[in-house]
Symmetry: C2
Subunit: 206 residues, 2 copies
DNA sequence: GTCTATAGCTAGATAGAC
DNA sequence: GTCTATCTAGCTATAGAC
């Protein structure tokens, strides 16, 4: 994928970019601030990557991959559990500071995507893949009879958009009360509209 | 509100900031680029505002006010119509280039809010006011018997978060197909979960 | 491969004429 | 009030020692 940057170097770089983004945001990111988040010098970063933007793209590649893996790693054969946990993961956890920083940074890059093709391409592909993943879960549930006969793609898109919006208000603005209420409505939606009659939500979400 | 910047000057400035943000995004915004979007010189902007960030805040004040007014201006006494139209407005129109630019810019400022108190304060207040506005519509509908007895605040928050997330994917990434599907699911949600039995959505949304 | 030092530029902001 | 000209700081990126 990325042209032969050694794994240790990339890990160091991605970590420093991640911390610098969490501390200063993309709009105020400088290569000095990135270097300040590691033991390495500024030149170290320019040896491995050509430009500052390449550093950010390396972070973005890492972040999208990480998020996709977290979804894929949901460990259950039951479509009901998988769908609830997936939505839970997508909304995110405000208390997890690292996660919050990563999510806010991804959002800042997303909102800058109209002006940066690399951001646009990676984030469109990522969003698309999440929708596909959710749609696959929905399809499974329909086949198994646990879900109603909803439109998998449309339902997946709808769920992701709700989770995305919530991430913004909760992670970026700290409106945790809104987060709680939306979570409740979201799980209620799954229960009343996606789950088939007589199917219950997982215990943790009831 | 803002300390005595003449209305004509402010209009000129807000317009230039708006166009510069639409063209370059917040992360790449410079005062030179702002000035390039007007007939005025760079010094003109610094005569009326002390710092570059004050210019952006002036834009943000204008943008939040504009969005709030658009919601408040929905011209109907019928809670059903008002709720559907409000959601429609909140999701926004991808085809409207100005609206798209404004929405994407607001999103970029939102995602930078953890690092800028002025952004944080204005956007939290704005989001809160939209939730209040939506909740008021929901309460009205419940009183009139057009809506079920849902939780107005939670429902309002839930609807806004879905609209916000959709704005991101549609306006910033151009995923218009996702926008269509989410709109459909969103209006379906309103119809099946918020509207009382036997109440129909407005003709335009059926 | 990684460092220190610095080039070269552009940013935000100001001075002073009008 | 608005302009042109310009200052200074801080940025991205590179050169050259090790």
């Amino acid at each position: 994928m990325s042209d032969a940057v050694p794994d240790v170097a990339r890990a160091e770089i991605v970590g420093a970019v991640r911390r610098a983004l969490a501390k200063h945001g993309y709009a105020r990111l400088t290569t000095k601030k990135v270097a300040a988040e590691s033991e390495k010098s500024e030149a170290f970063f320019f040896y491995h990557y050509d430009t500052k933007d390449d550093l950010v793209v390396a972070f973005l590649d890492w972040a999208t991959e990480r998020s996709a893996e977290r979804l894929a790693a949901i460990d259950s054969d039951d479509p009901v559990t998988r769908l609830f946990v997936a939505c839970d993961v997508l909304v995110g956890d405000y208390e997890d500071e690292d996660d919050r920083g990563i999510n806010v940074a991804m959002m800042e890059l997303l909102s800058h995507a109209p002006h940066d093709e690399a951001f646009h391409d990676r984030l469109s592909a990522y969003k698309r893949s999440v929708i596909d993943e959710l749609a696959a879960i929905v399809s499974l549930g329909i086949e198994s009879g646990a879900f109603r006969d909803v439109d998998p793609e449309a339902t997946a898109a709808y769920l992701l958009m709700t989770a995305d919006g919530t991430t913004g208000a909760v992670m970026a603005l700290g409106m945790t009360d809104v987060g709680e209420k939306v979570r409740e409505r979201l799980f209620d939606y799954l229960t009343s509209t996606v789950l088939a009659d007589g199917v219950s939500p997982p215990a943790a979400f009831a």
